[in-house]
């Protein structure tokens, strides 16, 4: 690709980019958020047309108008965000657009099985994508590309949602593909990974190529400097502020799958009947999304929950927020039982919430920033007084947040959608912190946020913790998790199966536990399952 330039209204996403990828290699592309990596790849994939520049494949000049053209030239792309239709089966998602290859029936199913077996993807063709976990979805995405017999694979941040073991498995696959002569372009923010798998590295900054690196000699530090011109900030936090006053106590929290209710939960039997009428009641057994989860978070404590996505984190958050009602269990906040309280009551009662999916749960995308500042705190000052909104005060406070949290925006009247992800996140953090929460749920607080903003968000959390905030931290970024938490727990299939000391644990060990391979208390460099007391636990246990 040569001299690629792409302008968006107000942004030059790519500016005269040049990149050469050798055949049969894994080529890594790195750069901070918004550097233009995805845009460049979308151009290569025909999803966007470059304003200037040329692309040559095998020395032959090409011009793609649609992804179809690119696919025809043997290019396949796994996108940063999943490109799957939830309500279609895996088979349908895979064959879509490539129906000419093997049809849409038995032949296609056979082919999918074949590829799946060859790379150990373990994909079930007739499952609905909706029912798949993230890792499975990732595999479907890869399968989509392989199915089309792509010769050039683009993987845009494929590892963001995977645990280390899954990453390793993916890398094995990549090496295998490489051995077969395929070319892979790989985008990641995780520099360690990049060094592990790449043959060549290109660094992009603000839309231009700023350099290349040799993975054999480069260090992550050098790469980071190339990327952002600064050191990698670290989430390390060592001075403990943990007190002995419990802020949040969760006992035996159990959540059943939506649409099903528990019949005899007191007997811990998992016999459940569907709420809706179906033909055969006994044929349908629901399952537990959270199973007897108990923990305590004290004032000034950050409890980190590690786990592969889809193991009950979402349900835990939603149950704590009151968005779903648990089948069993008691939640106590600062001495008050809030198990039956509404979401609003809980928020007023002092729960802050940084949601895992900011677009779905944190923002009104089409509303101005100041309305987003009111969201979730409409009953509280300065947003309203006795049922009437105080727009002036809300606006003024929004300006304060924008200032204090360094939200990059031309003003508070623009819609939330027009902010970049990082800035949206800063706004949410600022909002939640403005109401002096007693307890904060922070789900992936820095996901997809670039290094600068990351540090700010960490600082904000640490600051509040010092003042006695209790935090439940859920993150896929294990460094963040280990660095910030005072206590660590591992969630697996709806249960808290292990705990660990963040002072000694390594990401690799934690990753192992997340796959369910280990349980109990995790000792550093000794991850055999040490069966702990399953009965009542002491506060000591909680405070590690």
């Amino acid at each position: 690709m040569h001299g690629i330039t792409k302008r968006f209204p107000g942004v030059v996403a790519n500016k005269d980019i040049a990149i050469t990828v050798r055949k049969g290699t894994v080529h890594a592309l790195i750069g901070e958020n918004g550097a233009g990596k995805s845009t460049l790849m979308k151009i290569l994939y025909g999803m966007q047309k470059p304003d200037e520049g040329t692309i040559a494949i095998d020395g032959e000049q090409v011009s793609f108008n649609t992804p179809g053209d690119a696919i025809a030239r043997g290019i396949g792309m796994v996108h940063q965000h999943f490109m799957l239709a939830d309500n279609l089966t895996v088979l349908e998602n895979v064959v879509l657009g490539g129906e000419k290859l093997y049809g849409i029936g038995a032949k296609a199913r056979k082919k999918i099985k074949e590829i799946s077996d060859a790379y150990g993807l373990g994909v079930r063709p007739d499952a609905l994508v909706e029912d798949l976990g993230v890792a499975d979805r990732q595999r479907v995405e890869i399968l989509k590309v392989l199915y089309r017999g792509a010769k050039i694979l683009i993987l845009d941040e494929p590892t963001a949602v995977l645990v280390p073991q899954e990453v390793d498995a993916l890398f094995d696959n990549l090496r295998e593909l490489k051995a077969e002569g395929l070319t892979v372009i790989f985008i990641s923010h995780k520099l360690g990974e990049v060094l592990k798998v790449a043959d060549d590295i290109t660094v992009i900054r603000r839309g231009t190529t700023v350099g290349t690196a040799d993975p054999k000699t480069a260090t992550t530090k050098q790469l980071a400097e190339l990327m952002v011109g600064s050191e990698l900030p670290s989430p390390e936090t060592r001075e403990s502020t943990v007190t002995t006053t419990p802020m949040l106590q969760v006992e035996d929290l159990t959540v059943a799958e939506t649409g099903v209710v528990m019949v005899r939960h007191e007997t811990s039997a998992r016999m459940m009947l569907p709420m809706d009428r179906t033909i055969d009641p006994s044929a349908e057994l629901g399952r537990l999304l959270l199973d007897g989860v108990s923990f305590t978070i004290h004032k000034g404590e950050i409890l980190g929950i590690a786990g592969v996505e889809g193991n009950g984190q979402t349900e835990l958050i939603e149950a704590l927020m009151g968005m779903i009602s648990p089948a069993a269990g008691v939640i106590t906040l600062d001495g008050t039982d809030i198990t039956k309280s509404s979401v609003r009551k809980r928020r007023v009662g002092g729960i802050g919430y940084i949601p895992e999916d900011r677009h779905r749960h944190g923002l009104l995308l089409e509303s101005p920033l100041w309305e987003n500042r009111i969201l979730g705190h409409v009953t509280e000052r300065p947003n309203s007084k006795s049922g009437i909104l105080d727009l002036k005060a809300a606006r003024k406070d929004t300006e304060r947040i924008v200032r204090e949290y360094d939200v990059r925006t031309p003003g508070i009247e623009v819609t939330a959608a027009s902010l970049s992800g990082g800035n949206q996140q800063k706004l949410i953090v600022g909002r939640e912190m403005s109401h002096n929460p007693k307890f904060l749920i922070a789900a992936h607080p820095t996901r997809g946020v670039d290094v600068g903003a990351q540090a700010q968000i960490w600082d904000a959390i640490r600051e509040a913790r010092r003042e006695g905030l209790a935090v439940l931290l859920i993150s896929a970024d294990l460094d963040e998790l280990i660095g910030l938490s005072d206590t660590l727990r591992v969630i697996y299939r709806g249960r808290l199966v292990a705990d660990a000391d963040p002072a000694t644990i390594t990401p690799e060990e934690l990753g192992t536990a997340m796959t369910g391979a280990a349980s109990g208390h995790l000792e550093a460099s000794d991850n055999h399952s040490a069966g702990t007391d399953a009965g009542t636990e002491s506060p000591e246990d909680e405070a590690r």
């Binding site: 966007q48 049809g103 009947l273 349908e284 889809g310």
Partner: protein, 421 residues
């Protein structure tokens, strides 16, 4: 808290929870059960018209226009475009069908009527797909426009034609009707015996083989055809993917605009065919206001049927059946329906009891008792309530049945090429 063991059964990996595919034998069994229930009611109440040949064919001809509109809605919404303009497209169908029909014969009328509806669909596609305007606004506008446009045109066309007026077209030649010889009579005979179940089945079959218009057959075939095209061909897969996740479809080289356009135009064409059916088969003339909200009912039937052709057909069929019952000797037939609903409520009550939901069971029981009482103490239903029967039944069925509606995920969402993240 940590547990030392992770029981293997603790949670199965993500499995399709709650949803169950209805297999063919199940569907057959449900249909047979429903028919048996109707049969029982017929025997008790003596309302023999409940499943007569005439009732079934009447139901069919009332259901077909609704079903065609619903099918039109299904095509559009499966591609992600909400089509509330079905009513307008139907109006275009009635008008153009009759206009061409009376001059050049019914089949030309069918084609021109379809084209008229398709033109409405095209307009909808331009507004919603190309200009990305809110789909409901566009649909409402098309309904207004189609009404005004056809009324306006009638002044220049039908008003001057012999036998026509500014509100009405001249007569259109009828479309050929077929009766399966032998079978039709045999079924009518069997039906006339008023036996349990057998006669009811004979009535249903008889209704399908007696005096059935070729256009009705076409309409009936369009339902499985739609299912086949949308669920069994790559064209259909692509079309549906546009309604589920157009950006994903785009990323695999699907030209989303093209499929949306095709779907919405087909949608208009189907609604247009529904219109032609009204102005050529249901009655041989165009008449202002003839569609009378059937486009909306079609939409409702589609939602009722969970955006699936079979379910939609059931919705339209239910509506046509009750509508026909009410028109053919309303007071008596609808009175018998009271009994049917009461029995259904008793079944609901038993089911809720089984599920230990005592409140729901109680409510169902009370309503069932009230209906029995009403049934027993009267021998007809006021004509006003008879009129409401199809609507009430639909509402009741929806309220009682499980709502596992699932509309296409990107239905009604704006889409622009190259905007995906």
């Amino acid at each position: 808290m940590s547990t030392s063991t992770v029981s293997a059964t603790s949670a199965a990996p993500k499995k399709p929870g709650g949803r169950k595919k209805l297999t063919l034998p199940w569907i057959m069994l449900i249909v047979a059960g429903a028919l048996a229930l109707v049969s029982v009611v017929r025997l008790i109440s003596g309302a023999n018209d409940l499943t007569s040949v005439g009732q079934v064919s009447g139901a069919l001809s009332l259901a077909v226009p609704i079903g065609l509109a619903g099918l039109g809605g299904l095509w559009a919404e499966r591609s992600g475009v909400v089509n509330i303009g079905l009513e307008g497209m139907m109006i275009l169908g009635t008008w153009f069908g009759a206009w061409a029909g009376y001059q050049w014969g019914p089949w030309t009328g069918v084609l021109v009527g379809i084209a008229g509806g398709a033109a409405g669909g095209l307009l909808h596609a331009i507004i919603t797909v190309t200009f990305n305007v809110n789909h409901i606004v566009s649909g409402v506008a098309i309904n207004i426009l189609a009404l005004g446009f056809t009324q306006y045109l009638s002044n220049f066309t039908f008003a001057e034609a012999p036998g026509g007026s500014s509100k009405q077209s001249p007569q259109v030649e009828p479309i050929y009707k077929v009766t399966v010889p032998g079978l039709s009579d045999w079924m009518a005979d069997l039906q006339g015996k008023h036996w349990f179940f057998v006669s009811d089945l004979a009535g249903v079959i008889g209704g399908l083989v007696t005096e059935i218009s070729l256009l009705t057959i076409v309409a009936l075939l369009l339902i499985p055809a739609t299912w086949w095209v949308l669920w069994r061909t790559s064209f259909g897969l692509r079309l549906r993917s546009c309604g589920e996740n157009p950006i994903a479809a785009e990323s695999l080289g699907v030209n989303v605009y093209k499929y949306k356009y095709i779907a919405v135009i087909v949608s208009g064409a189907l609604a247009g065919l529904g219109g032609v059916y009204l102005s050529e088969v249901a009655s041989p003339i165009y008449q202002e206001g003839q569609t009378g909200g059937r486009g909306y009912i079609g939409l409702a039937a589609m939602i009722f049927g969970n955006w699936m052709p079979g379910g939609m057909a059931m919705g339209a069929g239910l509506f046509g059946f009750i509508d026909s019952l009410k028109l053919r000797g309303g007071a008596e037939n609808v009175h018998a329906m009271l009994l049917l609903i009461a029995i259904l409520l008793v079944l609901v009550c038993v089911w809720q009891l089984y599920k230990k939901k005592y409140i729901q069971a109680g409510v169902a029981a009370v309503f069932a008792a009230l209906l029995f009482l009403w049934y027993a103490t009267t021998d007809s239903v006021p004509s006003q309530f008879v009129d409401a029967a199809p609507y009430l039944t639909t509402l009741l069925v929806l309220a009682l049945s499980a709502q596992r509606l699932r509309m296409p995920k990107a239905d009604g969402m704006p889409y622009r090429k190259g905007q995906g993240k």
